[in-house]
Symmetry: D2
Subunit: 333 residues, 4 copies
């Protein structure tokens, strides 16, 4: 398939969805992938551990541990649920950090990727705005820092089109200057399923790879590049229109197949709609506006603000022992 058509295929940044696409039947295990799912009080938590090359190939994902929280109820703007999700996320993230070998005294740099002025891409900068930063106290008045806090700093490096500099270059520069032990990178993602938009959080210990997220990240933020671990926290804030159109075409094929058709010819014909032809169709539908067309709920502004608050609250509680993991919202703006 030509590279040009690639951008019209179904696109997702969620490992969960990559798994679904690799093997739609949830009961059939994927070789090289460990899975664990649990549901409680409206929050579905999935752990996917892609632990070898075979799993990585099957899923089309980098090896690593993917933790996902799905909370369909967030669409209803229930503040109580938001608080519970923040608390759950804080507890899970604290455990995730420990399992990743991050020590409670390790210095953390939080990186909010994305663009303030493009709502669905503003998640990262919004989270940064609500992070409880402490590094400057450790630098300036170390004797006054209470126990239970660690060194946390936070930056929103902006996007290439606004700064003229790759965000990875800016982060790299700041890492060399301030020497954190671990990076937590926040980014807006794309999902293939509308119902996961603004209701899902993914944590992955693989950093940020070029081409993931909804902005244009040409260079990544990974341990290979930065020399320190990078944990990615993402929320799908959009679907690509191409994904919607692909879904439509797939459904139409299904529709014909399930009809009581008279001749084998038709089924043959349908099977002949190759992936390339399908993408060509998608391209024709979407070309007028190029590949940046996105699908969002109309109220995207509010949903993203809510998700940013949940993540900032959760990170503040997970990173500082002094911040109570059971009442995380109290510490955030």
């Amino acid at each position: 398939m030509t590279a040009d058509l690639n951008k019209y295929s179904v696109r997702t940044d969620l490992a969960l969805e990559a798994r679904e696409m690799a093997q739609p039947d949830i009961h059939v295990p994927l070789p090289g992938v460990e899975e664990h799912v649990e549901n409680a009080a409206g929050i579905r938590v999935t752990n996917l551990n892609v632990y070898n090359e075979e799993g990585s190939r099957a899923m089309g994902r980098v090896q690593g541990r993917y933790l996902t929280l799905e909370v369909p109820g967030l669409r209803k703007k229930d503040s109580d649920l938001q608080d519970r999700v923040a608390t759950k996320f804080a507890q899970l993230f604290e455990k995730y950090l420990i399992e990743s070998g991050v020590k409670s005294t390790d210095k953390v740099l939080i990186v909010g990727l994305g663009n303030w002025n493009v709502t669905p891409d503003a998640l990262g900068p919004m989270v940064v705005e609500n992070i409880l930063v402490t590094r400057h106290y450790f630098e300036l008045v170390p004797e006054q820092v209470s126990p239970g806090y660690r060194q946390v700093s936070a930056v929103a490096p902006g996007v290439l089109g606004t700064t003229g500099i790759e965000s990875s270059e800016i982060v790299h520069a700041i890492v060399e200057k301030t020497r954190p032990d671990v990076i937590i990178a926040i980014d807006a993602l794309a999902s293939k399923a509308l119902e996961r938009v603004n209701t899902t959080i993914q944590v992955a210990d693989i950093g940020i790879h070029p081409g993931s997220g909804i902005g244009n990240k040409r260079k990544g933020l990974t341990k290979e590049i930065l020399g320190i671990p990078c944990i990615a926290v993402g929320v799908p804030t959009v679907c690509y229109a191409s994904t919607i159109v692909n879904n439509a075409i797939e459904l139409m094929k299904e529709h014909f197949k399930h009809e009581n058709v008279k001749s084998r010819d038709v089924i043959g014909l349908l099977d002949e709609v190759s992936e390339q032809e399908r993408l060509q169709l998608v391209k024709e539908v979407l070309e007028p506006l190029g590949h940046d067309v996105i699908v969002t709920p109309k109220e995207v502004d509010e949903f993203i603000e809510d998700m940013a608050n949940i993540i900032a609250s959760g990170l503040n509680a997970a990173l500082h022992e002094a911040v109570d993991t059971n009442n995380v919202a109290a510490y955030t703006h």
Copy 2:
């Protein structure tokens, strides 16, 4: 077709597109519809006059005069072009007012429909913010008002979900209290073509009808309801996802038809995909998020601000003789 499925059909608020759908061949005239198109310097101006019941039925639109400016180049964020569009819009709108029987001393109330906090629906309130209002000078210090100005007031009534009151009720109340001679209502619209989103302005002397625009307007703003003429100015800021999916399915049908198919059966089969079945398919694709799903370019925030400035500049120049129609941008924020 069931009412329930209706919302999954192709939806547009542009008369221009209703005309395209009624008769795709631009050279075949529609009975009851007068048309005039002119192109100049990147701005395409279409006048559609739906002058009798037959035209109204053919187009599925209320009788009235529809003026449309299409400026694909606005997508490139060229400030010079923006200024030229504002100037052209001012000149056309001034002429439109005269042809509508609005006198240069008539008192104008500008109504910005929509919701500040939902970006694609914020066009109306944004325009209101940049309108040169003068009514209070006429009320408080009439002797100090320079010649060349008329009485203009402007309100953004909010949306039902935020106020608990129909915006039409609020406007009706203000009309009774302040007695303007004519209303100009600004609203965000939906287009069926992605390339028209944020690049098109429509003027119509039909007011606002329930169900048009991208918000939920249960009651309209029309001469029948308000007792004074209401001119609607709109900009498409979104496509509905349903429109995109319908386009995809149509293209797929075309695709099969143009293939060198072996048997007539297939063509028959394709023709049998009734409109109802198609909408059912669309529904299956989109149901997860309901019917409010919209498609926008990612940078919608900036585009809408630009369009709001163009419209406010144009209205200020068209409404006040003292504001120079050739240099409209100078008077706006």
Copy 3:
């Protein structure tokens, strides 16, 4: 004193401060004024009942009941305290409504006065944005409204300079159209004491009077004008610079008096600095920018958002029995 100089005097919208100015000694009762103060957990609650003409003259305030919450700790941005203040405000406001004769089924219109685009004047519109409105459910689907809710609507009428219409005219028009039983008007106020800015809430059953608040309200919102009771809820968001300068000059006079001065002449001289001379001095200091100069803490944007949330949460809980007064924050954005 000339009217012109009046605007350079100490200005306050708080009854509490008018009382302090009328009689600085808190233990000396003012005739015609009932007072009750209580302190608990960092929240100081003052009830001032100006019950006759004499009290009104002494305080320079309209007769009525003034309830004030002072919470200096709000300056520290402590979310726990914010929640406690919202809860306390909800409880006090619920009681205040009952004492004002407002029944639990009375229809309420909340009016957010002020200007979205001027931060210290944006309190009213911000509160409106977070109000739980229900009137449309009662109108459209009355059978689906759960018990424990009353009819609430909310509007932000804008300011004269933006709309060309007095906000009181707009409110009056909406009252005539929608027939609420009581109005609650939210407004940003001016304080004479910097420490009360953004840390104080005042409730008064006197409505809004021309000249109060930080915007320009030429006509008021009162029972006389509207025909229904109007309860004002305000937060001081600014000091006028004139107030600061007056304080400075007073302090300087005190300074001389307390010095061990050699001659009686000096004290005489100081006493001769008449109020008019003092205001003339203030005018000279402030004239360059006119009378709109305000003093705020630099972080005014955040403080006002916090106060708007507290008030909206409190109102939502106080107005609807179904919203739990003990956990008010959960129902707000």
Copy 4:
């Protein structure tokens, strides 16, 4: 004088005002300082060259060239004047760069200091948002860059309280990584005169020094620290309340002196109000809110946006030959 009281003295970041304080009579030259003033069409341009140690001491300023534009008319929100100021600023800044030895091919990094979320401190980030950045084109598609453009990048490093990292450290890191030839740092300043707030632009080739600007800059951005020249562009967006109070007290002293006082004792007494006593008075007035209290016109939000546009437009035209210096506004958002 104790350091503690120092913060209650008259504070200004404008060299122009430092000159006025050093020698109020404009016709008396300051040794070590070259001055040139010109007025044209409502724009007053002052060049102050502090060329030796004596001038530096007299003014209390670092040696360097200070260019100031004063435009009182900007307070009237006249878009024509805004355009003319942007054009004038572009022409003067282009000349200033040449005189500073900056070549037309030198790579520029623009640094927007300050805090997005605190309106009067948001000038720098707002300018960055409107800068025409090109560095990435030179890096990625150098062959496609038209002649007449130079390499420009732009960052808003945030403030210490939000990031936990000194903004100078972040800038230093980015300079080491991206190797620009010159830095242009944009910052909000404090003025001592209300009428200069939001109507004045200062350019200085001295970089940013600790303690200047309205944010808290502990470390500077200077050639000594960064290894490359740093040109500061600033706009006063606030007065400190302390400055207003000092003015008031000075005026009161003048008032007594000019009165027909009976006894020499009084004049003696007034002269005895030492600077320390005066600051003690100021402290008493302002202590309740600490030293961050600022004075602004109420409409600060809009004024700062206008100034940010003027500066961004001007920089875009001055930095790229291909951007026409005579019509600068056309290239900005």
